[in-house]
Every structure is written in C-alpha cells, then in structure tokens.
C-alpha cells in the first residue's frame, strides 16, 4: 500500500464539501469524539492500574486515583514475570525461524518458480486461514506421544509452522518487486540459485524481514489458543498468566489492569516505534502486497 501523504488536489472550482473549512471542522470534531471513545479503555487501564488497592473499587470507578500508587504494578509484575520470560522464549525464535523460511519460500515462489509453484502457494495460503482448532487435537496427541510436551518447544514449533504461510506471502510479494533483470544478470554471470539468493536478494530483504519479524513476534506474543492447548503451568506464556490473574475473582482491579498493560507493553512499543512495518504486515494479511 502507499503510505504517502494524501494528494491534496483541490478541484478547480474549489469549495468541494470535504475540503471547506466547515467540513474540516466537522470532520475533526467527529474524529476527536471517536478518538475519545477509543481511548476510554486505555484511560481505565492506566487510571485503575495506578490506584492503590483500597481505591480500586466500584465507587469512584472512573475518577483519578487520590493517591497514585505502584502497588498494583509490583504485584502484577511478580505474577507475570515468568510468563513474560516464556513469551520471549517463544516469540523470538519462532519469529526468526519462520521469517527465514518465509524468505526462502518467497524468493522461490516469486523469482525461481518450479512447476506447480502457484498450487503450492495457494495450499500454503489456506494454512493462514484455517481455524487452528482443526489441527489442535492431533497436534497435541502427536506432541504427547513424541514426549515433547512440557516446555516451550511445542509453542515454538506451532508458531513457526503456522507462521510460514504469512511469511511466505509477505516475502513473495516483496520479492516480486525486485526486477527480474537483476536475477537474470546474476544467472548469466553463472550464479546458481543459492548464490543469487544470497548475493542479490538477501541484501535488499531488510524491510521484508522487519515486517515478518514484527508480525510473527506480535502474533506469537498475543496468542492464547495454542498456549492453552500446548503448554502447562511451567511454560505458560504471558497471555495465559494474564488470563489467570484476571480470571480469578480475588485479584483486585488495580492489579488486573496493571497486568493487562504490562502484558501488552512489548507489542505496543513495537507498534509505536515500528508502526510502518507493523502496518505493512497487516496489509499483507489482507493478501494485498
């Protein structure tokens, strides 16, 4: 997609509805109101998270804390730290592996096709849309009989494998923009496939790696479904622990909200810092290069 600034071509007659001053003001007001609505949950999270235990009750639920306290954050961190660690141990390796595989696949499917490559690609893509429930029971059974259950390995495996389709798609679309003449030139110079890949394609792949790594990291970090099926208490990632914290009726709201923010911080930071690449991943998810 094109992220360039909108073309502000004003019609010769000027004064079309969308561009008049009043139109602008109305649009801005509506957007502002919607933004406030969208921010409500964030307000609740932050305000409640900073309340001391005594204040995190129904009365005055929407008011600012009288005393700003980090008590909720401290306990939330204690509860979530092991899960945060597990999530890092899952999200990082699976992002790296599936991005690497995706890069290789994308290169072949865009620039070094074999007969039937399109069929294989379509079959891959379907893997992106399947409800993972449809593979979950056999996957679990297989991992149990292979004696692999227990650590974070099952989760790494799952996120890696089921991340291959989207990574392949992103890289394939990206490599399709590399001029075929560059590839041909390398071929004429006698470079084989691996050589071409390593010397022509890989050096320009950084943006696509950024997109896939971010996408994979985010989806592995935010995953809950694979986690509940494939991990036990010692290897629960942060989403499962957050759900446990929040799901028990005895945990006060200040801790719940602080925990929700803590669990979301890594992906939110990635989004705010590398938003451009995050966006591109989202667009690729819609099958749009």
């Amino acid at each position: 997609m094109t992220q360039s600034a909108p073309e502000r071509v004003i019609a010769p007659g000027g004064g079309v509805a969308g561009t008049t001053r009043r139109g602008q003001a109305v649009k801005f007001t509506v957007l502002f109101a919607l933004a406030v609505l969208f921010l409500l949950p964030m307000y609740v999270l932050i305000v409640t998270g900073f309340k001391p235990f005594a204040e995190a009750t129904a009365a005055g639920a929407w008011s600012l804390p009288q005393v700003w306290s980090v008590e909720g954050w401290v306990t939330a961190w204690e509860a979530l730290a092991p899960g945060m660690y597990n999530s890092v141990m899952v999200a990082v390796p699976s992002a790296v592996i599936s991005a690497t595989l995706g890069s290789m696949n994308g290169f072949v499917m865009a620039r070094w096709r074999f007969p039937g490559a399109d069929t294989v690609f379509t079959l891959f893509l379907f893997g992106m849309f399947i409800p993972y429930q449809a593979v979950m029971i056999p996957l679990q059974q297989m991992l149990v009989s292979a004696n692999l259950m227990g650590g974070v390995l099952p989760l790494i495996l799952a996120h890696t494998v089921y991340g291959i389709p989207i990574c392949t798609l992103i890289f394939r679309n990206y490599y399709a923009s590399i001029p075929q003449t560059l590839i041909e030139a390398a071929r004429v110079d006698g470079a084989g496939m691996l050589r071409t890949y390593a010397s022509v394609v890989l050096p320009v792949s950084a943006p696509a790696f950024a997109v896939t790594l971010i996408w994979q990291f985010t989806s592995a970090w935010n995953d809950f479904l694979f986690a509940v099926f494939l991990t036990g208490p010692n290897s629960w990632p942060v989403t499962v622990q957050l759900n446990n914290v929040a799901g028990s009726m005895v945990v006060p709201y200040n801790q719940q909200m602080a925990a929700a923010i803590l669990a979301s911080l890594p992906t939110l930071i990635v989004y705010l810092v590398l938003g451009r690449y995050f966006m591109r991943g989202l667009m690729a998810g819609a099958l749009k290069g």
Binding site: T2, A5, P6, R8, V9, F28, V30, L31, F38, P41, V44, L45, T48, A58, A61, W62, M104, N105, F107, V108, W112, R113, P115, A117, D118, F124, F129, P131, Q133, A134, V135, M136, I137, Q141, V161, Q180, R187, M193, Y197, N222, D223, F224, V228, T239, N243, A246, G247, Q256, M257, A260, A263, S264, T267, L268, Y271, F278, M279, M283, A286, K288
Partner: protein
C-alpha cells in the same frame, strides 16, 4: 531455456509437441529445465513438508477422529461415519453455541466494517493530526484479545445501577440510566455486546484497509467525475466505492474467519459461562474437561468447514486474479 523467462511461472507447453521431435532432444531439454527449477523446489521442500504434515496431515487426522467413536482418550475408535456430526445438533448446547457465534459474527463484522469505513472516509482527504488519529485507532490491533477482554469485562460489568461499575456507572453519572444494561449477560442479544470489544480492536485495521483503498483510486478518476458535475459525496458513491469491492471482500474474509473461531475474547470476558458459549469454547471444554476427542474433533471440523466454504473460493479467486494481472 529457463522457466523464469515466463512471467506467469506456468511451465511451458512444449510447442513442438505435436511435430514429434527427436526423443533424446526433448528429454535433454526437460532435464535442463528441471536443473533450473529443481533447486527452487528443494529450497521450499522443508516448508512443504511442514505444511503438509502440520496443516493437511493434521486436518486429515482430525477428520478421521471426527468420523470415529473415540469418545475417551484411551479408546481406539472405530469408523462411524457422520454419526458425531448429526448428534451434535440433537443436544441443547451446540445449536445455542452456533446461534451465539452467528449473532456475534453479524454484529462484529457489520460493526467493524462500518466503523472502519467511517474512520477511513473521515481520514481520507487529510485532516489535522491525521497521523495521530491513525496511530490511535490502529493501536488496539497490537494488543492481545486477552488484554482487551480484561478491560472490557470491567467496562461491561453488568452490575445494576446502584452499585454499577464500568460503562453502567458512567451512564448513571451522566443521567443516562436508560442505557444501563446487562451487556453480555443479557439472555437474548448478549453476544451483540460481546462484539463491542472485538469491534474496538479491529475497526482500526479495517480503517487502514479502506484508507489504502481510497487512496489507491487515481485522483484523475475522481477529478473526471467532479468535472462531470458530481458532488464530493457523489464521487465517493459512484467512483470510489465501486473500486473498493476487493477491499470490502478482503475485509469481510478477515473479519469473518476471525469471528467464526472467536475464542480468546470470550474466555477473557465470560470464562466458560454457558450464556456466552461459542463453538471454539465448546470444543475446548470437550478436550480438557469431558475428554472426548471425537466430539472435540467434530466441532473442530465444523469450524474448519465454516471457514473453508468462503476462504477457498476467495484464495483461488485472488491467486487467479493476480495471474491474469500478470504478476
């Protein structure tokens, strides 16, 4: 000659086929060509193997389970045909879960499409602070459904007016008591409330899709319509919107397939309360509590089927269209 000269990537039909060329020649040419593409196939083969086993193999295994009577983990399970598929409809829980998923899907897909379209439309022509708005509306996409669920469960707390929290408390505060409601615990349309957090989370994504679509419409097309006397709204109605059908289709596919398998959000907000039951939660309960693999697999098969019915035509259509556009 190398296959890569062919932009469509489809293997060449040998033009000399009918004129019966010398056999060794043809063989050698095929061999040469294979030498070109074979390394590519080899490079992809680890992924083909993984996808083959973990996507298609597992789907096959799951289907076999669903067609068996393996109702306890230790049983062997014999083939029983579609018995499990029929039996599900005869109980109370399954049709209710399907009904909930349908209500959720309608409200979620409709709501997210409308919100996303509205936001995209408002941002399309550029407005002060556009980048800030965009970043803000899209931010929920970076967060897990579990975190979303934690805060929305608080917001949608169904406690009645006098000890209300969350949005109900806000309504009471602003004297909007008539808005106070039971949210997702309402017996009939509770699932419509359940869709609110999902709309909040996905609207920004749909906005981004529409925005990309709007801006992909060439300015001279809009210009031409204006010269023909179209109002700005008319330009959208008659020029821009018709161009956005592919975007709309992608958006519906994405939202629809997420919606049918919704799981995390429900668990985070309602746990396993039966009032908010959906097929994915039911399946989870079958695996972990009832420990009935065949029944779990049957539910999973229905989920897969529901998604496949519209995703497969979409994928085939997309890849074909790409081909015909010569990519």
């Amino acid at each position: 000659m190398s296959n890569s000269h062919n932009p469509s990537g489809v293997a060449h039909r040998d033009p000399g086929r009918t004129t019966a060329p010398a056999r060794p020649n043809r063989f050698r040419r095929a061999l040469n060509r294979a030498r070109t593409w074979l390394p590519g196939l080899l490079l992809v083969s680890p992924s083909i193997l993984l996808i083959g086993v973990f996507v298609y193999g597992m789907i096959g295994w799951n289907t076999r389970l669903a067609l068996s009577d393996k109702h306890a983990p230790v049983q062997d399970g014999d083939f029983v045909g579609l018995v499990n598929f029929v039996a599900l409809w005869q109980e109370a829980r399954w049709p209710a879960a399907v009904g909930n998923a349908i209500v959720f899907t309608v409200v979620f897909v409709g709501g997210a499409l409308f919100m996303g379209w509205l936001l995209g439309l408002l941002l399309d022509k550029g407005v002060r602070g556009e980048a800030v708005f965009r970043t803000l509306f899209l931010a929920p996409m970076a967060v897990s459904f579990i975190a979303t669920g934690v805060v929305w469960r608080w917001l949608m707390n169904p406690a009645p007016a006098e000890r209300a929290t969350g949005l109900n408390a806000l309504f009471v505060h602003f004297n909007l008591d008539f808005l106070v409601n039971d949210w997702w615990t309402a017996p009939d349309l509770g699932m419509a409330a359940m869709a609110l957090p999902a709309i909040w989370q996905l609207a920004g994504y749909i906005m981004a899709l529409f925005l990309a679509g709007f801006r992909g419409v060439p300015e001279d097309l809009r210009e031409a319509a204006r010269v023909d006397g179209c109002s700005e709204w008319g330009v959208y109605r008659h020029v821009v919107m018709p161009q956005l059908r592919p975007v709309l289709l992608s958006a519906i596919i994405i939202l629809g397939h997420m919606s049918l398998k919704v799981f995390d959000l429900i668990i985070a907000i309602a746990g396993q309360q039966i009032i908010a039951d959906v097929p994915a939660v039911y399946m989870w309960a079958m695996v972990f509590e009832v420990r009935d693999p065949a029944k779990g697999a049957t539910i999973a098969s229905y989920l897969l089927f529901a998604v496949a019915v519209f995703v497969i035509p979409y994928l085939v259509w997309t890849v074909r269209k790409e081909r015909s556009e010569g990519r």
